[in-house]
């Protein structure tokens, strides 16, 4: 179901007013995207099913707090989904970088560039990520798409957590400069 950003804003406004029918429209329009994000981080559909429900419950409860000047509706929704999935992921058995071989495929510039949904800003962001040192790029992607924590990365690489934190902050600072923001 394709719904424009403007239409989603209207739907969210109706959800904020307690319109359950609008909520159903919102669910139909966005659940596949949010579920994809959740499954990507959690890797298990049974847990993802439950998290998806919690995400939409949170959307229902927090729709009044949506501010269109801060984020598009889908970004707002996706951020809620991703944060909830990360919280759940932190309670699970740690995954390994080796358990997520497809993460780098998903995040590669070629794959993303092939997506018709790709916005210019996504292309710019990926170009900046590709400028990072390969290992740090891989770490960044494992965290963003795989939900790994810095501690898990540190344990896997056999380095102190503080080292990974330093790498991450430098990588993120480099991204910010590259994006000119």
């Amino acid at each position: 179901m394709q719904v424009s950003g403007g239409e989603l804003r209207e739907v969210l406004a109706r959800v904020a007013a307690g319109d359950a029918a609008a909520f159903a429209v919102l669910y139909r329009a966005t659940s596949m995207k949010l579920y994809g994000i959740i499954v990507r981080i959690l890797g298990r559909r049974d847990i993802a099913d439950e998290v998806l429900q919690e995400v939409y419950l949170r959307v229902w409860q927090q729709a009044r707090g949506y501010d269109p000047s801060v984020a598009s509706p889908i970004t707002w929704l996706a951020t809620i989904a991703r944060n909830r999935a990360l919280d759940e992921r932190r309670r699970k058995v740690p995954q390994s970088l080796e358990d997520m071989p497809d993460i780098l495929e998903i995040a590669s510039a070629e794959d993303v560039a092939a997506s018709q949904e790709l916005a210019d800003e996504a292309r710019r962001l990926l170009a900046c990520i590709n400028d990072l040192e390969p290992q740090r790029r891989r770490i960044l992607m494992a965290i963003y798409f795989g939900g790994m924590s810095g501690e898990e990365i540190a344990a896997e690489l056999g380095v102190p957590s503080s080292t990974v934190r330093t790498w991450l902050r430098r990588s993120l600072a480099q991204l910010k400069v590259c994006l000119g923001q």
Binding site: A17, D19, A20, A21, F23, A24, R28, S31, M32, K33, Y35, G36, I37, V39, R40, I41, R45, A48, D49, L52, Q53, Y56, L57, W60, Q61, V70, A71, T75, A78, T79, R82, L86, R90, R91, I106, A107, S115, E117, E121, A122, L125, L126, I143, Y144, F145, G147, M148, S149, G150, V164, L168, R169, R170, L172, A173, L175, K176, V177, L179, Q181
Partner: protein, 249 residues
């Protein structure tokens, strides 16, 4: 190389997702009272959000919407008056039965089967949330005590599963009864059965001849004597209503 200060570094790591559970909880607690941190998190989430375009969508379980709606209604029971009508685009209908003046239909939200394929090899249930916002005139506001029902239907078993999720229970000596309303006057309201008092879920068998009508006509819950409406008598006061209408068109 430039460095991120502590606040922005923390915000960036939160948005990236690298923090531990404890660190995340700490950030969430601080975020609500530290505007600088809150703003930095929003900026970093927006900065990284384009990566979400790279995540392929995935089909959630078909029952997901029904479950989400059920949880919402359960969680929002005291504010159920906020659930508003779906009457736009539909004519409010009225039943001029004895004991009932008129009734406006309210909300019916349905998730229908065949989510993944148009074939009938996989049979997913139809689900509806029934409530009302006007009784007997369209001007009467819904109250938090108005009963709301979650109904699912599995055609493979030809059974309805009816669950009251909020609102008042029937008074002593009374019971709720579920009816299938006539399509364009082709038959009288058809009783699908009494809802068991106190039971979390009532299962009601659907006669094969009524199955084609089930998704095409309105469902109404009425208040009846404890043993149900007597055969041939008029339906009691309607308390909740709606129609199974697929949203997956």
């Amino acid at each position: 190389m430039s460095e991120l200060d502590d606040i922005e570094g923390l915000a960036a790591e939160f948005a990236l997702g690298s923090l531990t559970a404890e660190e995340r909880a700490g950030v969430v607690a601080r975020e609500s009272r530290e505007l600088v941190l809150d703003k930095a998190i929003q900026e970093w989430e927006a900065r990284l959000a384009p990566l979400l375009h790279a995540v392929p969508p995935a089909a959630p379980p078909p029952i997901g919407l029904a479950q989400a709606l059920s949880r919402i209604i359960e969680g929002a029971a005291p504010q159920s008056a906020e659930i508003i009508s779906l009457r736009r685009g539909r004519n409010a209908w009225r039943y001029a039965t004895a004991g009932v003046g008129a009734l406006a239909a309210s909300l019916a939200i349905v998730l229908s089967g065949q989510f993944l394929t148009p074939s009938r090899t996989v049979d997913y249930p139809h689900v509806a949330v029934l409530t009302k916002n006007a009784l007997p005139s369209a001007d009467e506001p819904t109250t938090s005590t108005a009963p709301v029902f979650l109904i699912s239907y599995e055609s493979s078993r030809r059974e309805l599963y009816v669950r009251q999720v909020s609102g008042r229970r029937p008074p002593s000596g009374k019971a709720y009864e579920l009816w299938l309303m006539p399509g364009e006057g082709r038959w009288l309201p058809f009783s699908l059965g009494l809802l068991a008092a106190g039971a979390p879920v009532t299962r009601l068998a659907i006669p094969p001849r009524m199955e084609p009508e089930l998704v095409a006509n309105d469902l109404v819950v009425s208040l009846e004597p404890e043993k149900g409406a007597a055969p041939g008598s008029a339906m009691g006061p309607a308390v909740s209503a709606g129609r199974l209408t697929s949203l997956l068109r």
